[in-house]
Symmetry: D3
Subunit: 313 residues, 6 copies
C-alpha cells in the first residue's frame, strides 16, 4: 500500500514538497492522464494510459489525431472515488501515463500499423495493461496484433458502426475494416465477439453479410432499446466468457448530442448514463486492454466529447 501511495505522491521539482498532483484543482499542472506520473520507465506500472495520435485511416472528417491531447486535458478534472462503487482505483494500482505512440512514418498506412504494434509489444512483455486513446478506430488492429499475438481473444465492441467492411478508396486498411482484418488474421475469435449500439447506414451490404456469416453477435440499437442495458451486459458477459478479452469503445456509439466531436456521427445513439451502466456491468472480465477512439477535438472545441470519453475511460 505504501508504495502505491509513493507512486502518486512525488516531490515538486521547484519546492521539493511531496504532493499528489491529482488532488490539485483540475486546471492546475501539466496534463498527464488524470495527472498520473509519467515514469522514466514503464515497467513498474500496473496500467498505462497510451495516446495514439493517428487518424491516417479515417475516411471522412479527420481530427482524431488530436484526441489524446484533449482527453488528457479534460481528464484532470476527474476525481477518484465513484459514489456507486466507493472504490478508489488509485489506492489499488499504479497507473502511469506512458505518453504517445511515436509515428515516424505516419504517411504510410502499412508502416504505421507496424509502428503502433511495435509500441505495444514491450508493454505486453512487461505485463502492463494498456488503456489507449485514439486516434481513429483503425488503431485497434495494430494493438490487437501486439496483444493477441498468441491467439485469438474475445472482443466487446461498442460502436454505431460494424467496422467489418472491406476495401475502401483502394485500401484494405482503414477505420471501417479493422475488425474484419483482425478476424481474418486470427486476432479475434468471432464467436467471442459482440457489437453493441450498431445503427449506421451504409452504401453496401458487405459488412452485415460478414457479421452474419461469421456468427458475430450484433446488438443493434433497436434491440438494445427493446432488451435494455442490463440484458445487453449479460449477453456481452456470456459471449466474451472467461478468456482474455479486449474492449473497444468508439465514441460515436453515443448519440451525437453526447459526443458531437467525432468524424461520423449517427443520430439515435446511446446515452452516457447507459454507457456507464454498460461499462460498469463488465467489471470482472479478463481484460487485456481497452481503447476509446474517434474523439475529434476540432469538431468539438468545448471539450465535452473528450470529457465524456475520459470519464468513460
Amino acid at each position: 500500500m505504501n508504495d502505491i501511495k509513493d507512486w502518486y505522491e512525488r516531490p515538486h521539482p521547484v519546492t521539493g514538497e511531496r504532493y499528489i498532483a491529482r488532488d490539485e484543482p483540475g486546471y492546475v499542472d501539466i496534463p498527464t492522464f488524470m495527472r498520473c506520473p509519467r515514469p522514466a520507465a514503464i515497467g513498474e506500472a500496473d496500467i498505462a494510459f497510451v495516446g495514439v495520435p493517428y487518424d491516417g485511416q479515417a475516411t471522412e472528417r479527420v481530427g482524431a489525431r488530436q484526441g489524446p491531447r484533449q482527453i488528457r486535458d479534460v481528464s484532470t478534472t476527474l476525481r477518484a472515488i465513484n459514489h456507486a462503487t466507493q472504490v478508489d482505483p488509485f489506492a489499488l494500482c499504479r497507473i502511469a501515463d506512458a505518453g504517445d505512440v511515436r509515428l515516424p512514418r505516419a504517411f504510410d498506412v502499412m508502416d504505421t500499423i507496424e509502428d503502433i504494434a511495435g509500441f505495444y509489444r514491450p508493454l505486453k512483455a512487461a505485463g502492463v495493461i494498456p488503456l489507449s486513446a485514439g486516434g481513429d478506430h483503425s488503431i485497434s488492429y495494430p494493438i490487437l496484433k501486439a496483444l493477441a499475438a498468441e491467439g485469438p481473444v474475445g472482443l466487446i465492441h461498442i460502436d454505431a458502426h460494424l467496422d467489418l467492411w472491406d476495401t475502401y478508396l483502394g485500401s484494405r486498411y482503414h477505420h471501417g475494416s479493422q475488425f474484419r482484418r483482425a478476424v481474418e488474421d486470427g486476432l479475434i475469435d468471432p464467436k467471442r465477439m459482440i457489437q453493441i449500439g450498431l445503427r449506421g447506414a451504409q452504401n453496401t451490404r458487405e459488412g452485415w453479410d460478414f457479421q452474419r456469416e461469421l456468427g458475430i453477435r450484433g446488438i443493434y440499437i433497436e434491440e438494445l432499446r427493446e432488451i435494455g442495458i442490463e440484458a445487453a451486459v449479460e449477453e456481452a458477459r456470456r459471449i466474451a466468457g472467461g478468456g482474455p478479452v479486449y474492449l473497444t469503445f468508439d465514441i460515436d456509439a453515443l448519440d451525437p448530442v453526447f459526443a458531437p466531436g467525432t468524424g461520423t456521427p449517427e443520430i439515435g445513439g446511446i446515452t452516457t448514463f447507459e454507457a456507464q451502466q454498460l461499462l460498469r456491468g463488465l467489471r470482472g472480465l479478463n481484460f487485456i486492454g481497452a481503447d476509446l477512439v474517434e474523439v475529434s477535438p476540432p469538431l468539438d472545441p468545448s471539450g465535452n466529447t473528450a470529457l465524456t470519453g475520459a470519464t468513460l475511460m
Copy 2:
C-alpha cells in the same frame, strides 16, 4: 432498374468517367441533396428535394433562410441503406435535387406566398412528390395551397408548437398561424389532422381553443411520454387514414439538445431516436409531400441540427 441506375451514375464533366456522386466520401463534390442529380428538367424524377430559403414570417430569431444550404451540405455524409429496413431507396426511385424556390418578391408576405405556391404547381402537375426543406414553418401554407388545391388533405404535424394562432404583429400570415389559415381555407381536413410533441408555452389561449373547437387531435409531450411512440404512431395512422396526407416536421419538436439551431427552442422535447421511430412507423401512408422546417444555421454553426434534419428527411 437500369434506368434508375443511369439516373444516378453520370459522367464527370472533366474526365468523362461515369460515377455515382453519392459513393464519394462525404466532403467531396458540389452539395446537392444527398448528391442527387440536378436535372435540366424535373419531370423525369419521382421525388424532388426542394429548398425554400425563406424566413420572412418568423416571429423571433431568424436564420432559417439559410437552412436549405446547410441541409444540403451535411446531407452528403448520409448513406443509402438503413440496417433496420435493408431498403435502398436509390434503387427504387429517381430522386432529384430541384434547387431552391425562387423568391423575387421576398419583402412582401402575400406575394411570396403566391411565389412559393406557384413553384409547387408544376411539380404537382408532373407527378413529382416534393420533399421540402425550410425556411420557417410558414412555407407549409403555400405548399399546401398547391398540393391540396383539389380538396382538403390529412396532416401529420410534428412540432413543439400548435401553429394555430391568429394575427401577430399585425399579420394574419406568420410562422405560428399557417395551419389555422390552411384549415380555414379548406386545405386541411381538421378531422384528419394530428399534432405530436406539443409543449410550447404561450401568452394567449386562442391556439388551444381553435384546436379543441375544430377537433384536431393533439398529443402533448406528457401524453406522448405516457403512451409511448408506438401508440402515437398508431393514433397518427388512424387519424390520417387512407387518403392523401401531408407530413410536416418542425425541427423544434426535438429537444433543443438535438436541435439547438432553431429559432424558438422549447426544452423537454423528443429525442432523435423517437423521431426516427415515429417517421419509420408512418411508412405506407399515402403521402403527397413532406417538409422539414426551422433549421436555422446561424444558431448552430456545427451543422448538427442540420444533420439531424437531413437524416430525418
Copy 3:
C-alpha cells in the same frame, strides 16, 4: 386583478403608450427577468427575481458571475401560460426584477457572505419571496442566513454533488461546503433535507459520511432511474413536509448535454423533461424562496444552458 394588470402594463418613456413589455417579441427591450418591471421600491411585489453575480467560491472553472446577465437575456423569450397547467402566473401575482445583489467587497469571502445576507433581509422583512439566480452555489448559504434566521427550514436540493464537503484550499466556505455549513449553523433541518440527482465522484469520502451521519436523504442517479421521477417527487414532499422549505437547483444536476455551461459538469444526469416534472410535482409546498445556480455563460455562449435555467425558474 386590475392592479396586477397595472403592475405589468406601463407607459413607454418615449411615446407614453401603455404596453406590456412581455408581449413584445423576445429580442425587444431591455432584458429584465421575463421583462418584469424593475420598480423604484421592491415592497409592492409578491415575488422578486434577484441576481447574485458572484463566483468567488468556485473551486474549478469560473464564470457563473455572468449567470444572472445571461439568464435575464434569454428569459425574455419565455411565455406566460403553460399548456399543462393553463395557469398564467402573471395574472396571479406581481413579479419584479429586483436587480443584482451589490458586492462591494467581492474579493473577501466572509465579507461577501455578509453582504449577500444583508441584501435578502429587507426582502424577507417586506414579505417578498426571492427567486435567485447565481452565481456559484455558495450563495445559498447567505440567502439561508437571511431567510432561515428564525429557525431551520426544509431543503429540496437538486444537484449532481452533495455540497456537504468540508475545508478546501484552506477555506471552510466554498461552493462545495455551503449546505454542511448551513446544517451546522441550524439553518437547515437535516431530517427535512433531500438531495436528488447525486452522482459526482470525489477524492475523499467526508461528504458521503456527513450525509449518512446526519440522516440526510439522498437520491442518487441510479436510484432515481430505478424509482422514477414520480416516486422521487413523493419522497421529496414527504421529507419536506408542511413547514417552510427552500428549493435549490444546481444546473449541473442536468446532464451536461442539457447544460454544458457550468463549471463542474458530470455526465449521466437528468433530462430537462425530468427536471420539469420534478419541479411541477413540488407545487403547493410552503416555499420561502428558491435559487438556480452555476450557469456559467463563458462555457456556453449559445445561451442554451441559461435558457434551460430560465425556463426551469
Copy 4:
C-alpha cells in the same frame, strides 16, 4: 452639476442606498446602455440611446434585430473617461436609455418605416439627441424622416457599401437603398454627404452612377489608404460644414476581423483604431443624431463585434 450627478446616482430598489450603476463591475445589473437610467419619461435627458430591433429589410444574412440587446449587454463593461480626451461625458450631460422602438407591424415594410419615424418625432420635439443602434441599415431612413423633417441635413456615412442602390427583390425600400430614398425625399443634401470606407463589389453599376451624378463625395478604401485618416476627417468636416449633420456608421465599414458579426462582411476594411480616430476627429460638428447599425449577434456570439460597436458609440 448636482443634478447631473443625481441623474446617475439612484437608490437601489431593495436596499435603498444610492449608487451609480455604471461603477459596478461590468457583469453586474440589468444591462441598460452603459447602465444609464431608463427614466419614466424621456424629456429630461440630453441624449437618448435608442434600440431599433429590426432587420426586415436585410437582403442577405439576418440577425441584426438582436443587435440592440447585445450592444446593451457588452456596453456595461465600458468606462467613462478616455485617456486621450480626459473628458467624462457623464459629468456633462444626462444620458438615458430610452428602450427599443416598438414595432407592432414588423411584417410590413412601409408600416414599419412609419412606426420607426413616429418613435423619433417626440424625441426631436423634446430636444433629445438620439444615439441609435440597429437593426439593419434601413432604419436610418425613417430616423431621417423624423429628424430632417424641416429640410435636408448633411450626412457622414461610414460604410463598406454605398446603400444608393434602387429596387431589389421587388422593393424600393431595403438596407441597400435607404440613402437613395433619403436623397430623393429631400432629407439629405447630397452636396453635404460624404461616404467613407467604400469597397463592396456589386452586380450592377446603378449605385456608383447615382453617387457620381448627384455629386456625393465618396472616399473609397484605396483613396483612404492613400490619404490617411486625418485627411479624410478634414474632408468630412469640409463637406458636412456647419449645418445640422447626421452620422451613420455601418459596422461593416470595419474589416471583418474587427466585426465578423454582420450580414455582409467585406474584406479589406478599416481598423477600429482608424474608426476611433475618424470619430474623434468629427467632434464639434452640429450633430442632430447618429446611428450604428448591422451588428448581428447570431454571427458573432462572442460579442466582440457588439463590443466594438458599443465602444465606437
Copy 5:
C-alpha cells in the same frame, strides 16, 4: 457577348424560366463556385474552378479536405463588379464549376499525386485555365506536373512557409516539400520563382539553404513591411517575366486573425487588404493557373477564412 450571357442565364429545372443564379441572394441555390454553371462537359469553358478535397500530406492539424466545400458555400455571397476596376469578369469569359477531383486511392500518397495530375491533363488539353481550391498545399505539385509538363514555368508563391523542406515523417512528399520536388523535377524555374510573406520558424535550416542555393527570391515579412506591397508587386513581375507563370496562395500567408481556419497559422502576417493589392498588381501576367490552399473549415466554422479565400480567388 450573347453566348457569354447564355452561359450564365439558364432555365430553372422546375419552372423553366431563364435566370442567372448569381443574381439571387447569397443563401439561395445549390452552391457551385460563385453559382457558375456546372456544365455536362468542361470544354466550352474559359476558366474552371476545381476543388481538390485532399489533406493527406498535411503534417499538423488536418481538415483542408473540407476546404472546397466551404469555399463554394461562402462564394455565393460574392458579387461580380469591383468598384476599383469596374470590370465584370462574367461579361468577359465563361467560368465553370468543374466539380472536385476524384480521389479513388486517397490513402496512398503516390497514387493520389498521379490521380490529381490525371485530372488536370484534360483541362490543359482543352485550353481551360484551372483555378483550384485545396486541400493542403501538396496539391500544387501534381497540378504543376500536368500544367508544366512541357517545361519549367514561373511561380509566384504567397505563403508564410517556404515549402522547400525535404523528407518528413519518412515521406519525400508532403505539404512542406512540394516546391522542392517541383524544382527538382524541372516543373519550376527557380530563377523565375518568388516567395512572398515568409516568416514561419523551423526546426532545421535545410529549406532556407535550398532557397539560397537555387537563387529563389524570398521576400520575408520584415522586408515586405520595409519595402511595401507596391515594390513587392514590381519585384514579382520582374522575376516572373513574360513566360507562363503559376500562382499559388497559401491562406496562411495572411495573419491568423484574417485566416484562423488553417492548419499551421503563423502570427505577424499580411492583411487581406495587402493580399488584394498584391493580387490586383499581378494582372496581365501570363497565368496558366492558380490555386488557393490550406483553408481548413473545422478550424473556423464561421466560414470567414473561406470567405477571405473565396474573395481572393
Copy 6:
C-alpha cells in the same frame, strides 16, 4: 554543447529510444511548454517556464486560471529557429517546464500573494530565470517580491491598462493595482519603468495621476502610432538602462482581434507583428524574468489567443 543536447534528447519510457519531443508533430505527446523536459529538480535548468493558474484578483471576466494549461497546449506547435535571427535557443540553454505554482490557499488574496512569492524564491536562489504564464496580471506583484527582494528593478510593461489604480471592491490588491503596490514597496524603480500600448478608459483619474507624479514613462497608443515601434524600443532601452529589468506583457496590449481571449479587451491595440518587433528589439537587456498574463481560455476556445501568447514567449 553535448550536455545541452542531452537535456532535450531523452529516452521514451516505453521503447527506451532517445528522441527529442519537440521534433514530433505538434499534436503528439504530453504538453509541457514547447515539450521541454520537466526535470525531477529544477536546479540544472537555465530558464524555467512557470505556470501561475490564478485569477483570484481579476475584476471583470475571469478564466485566466486556465491560461497556463492552454498556453502549454498550443506551445507544442512552435518551432525553434526563427528565420530572422537564425538562432536556435534550444542549442544555447537548458529550458525546463517547472510546472505550476501550487496555490493551497487560493481563496485568500494575501495568503496567495505569499504562496506565489514563496515559489519563486528557490528559482532565484538557484539562478534559474523564470518565464511565467498567468493567470491574471496580479501575479507580477508576488513574482517581483521574490525576484526584486534586494532592491528595485526596471520594468518594461506592455499593456492596454496602467495597472496603477488603488483600492477596488475593498481590496488594495487586484489585477489593476499590482504595479502601484510594487512601486510603493520599492520593488520597481519608477524612473526605470516604461508602459507601452496604453489606451483603456477608466472611471477615475487616480492611475494617470500616479503615473505622472512618479515620473513613470507612458507611451499611449496614439504616441506609439505617431513615433513607431522602433522609437518605442529605443525609448524602452533608454529607460530600462543596464540594470536588472523585468518584462511583463499583458495580452490585452494586443488588439482584441489578435487576442479575444482576455478579460478586459480594449479595441484599437497593437498588432502581433508590432509586438514581435518590440520584443525582438529588447534583446540584450539584463532580464531577470518575464511574464505573459491574462490569457483566458474560456473566452477563446480556438486557442488562437494562447497561440499568440506562446509565440510571443
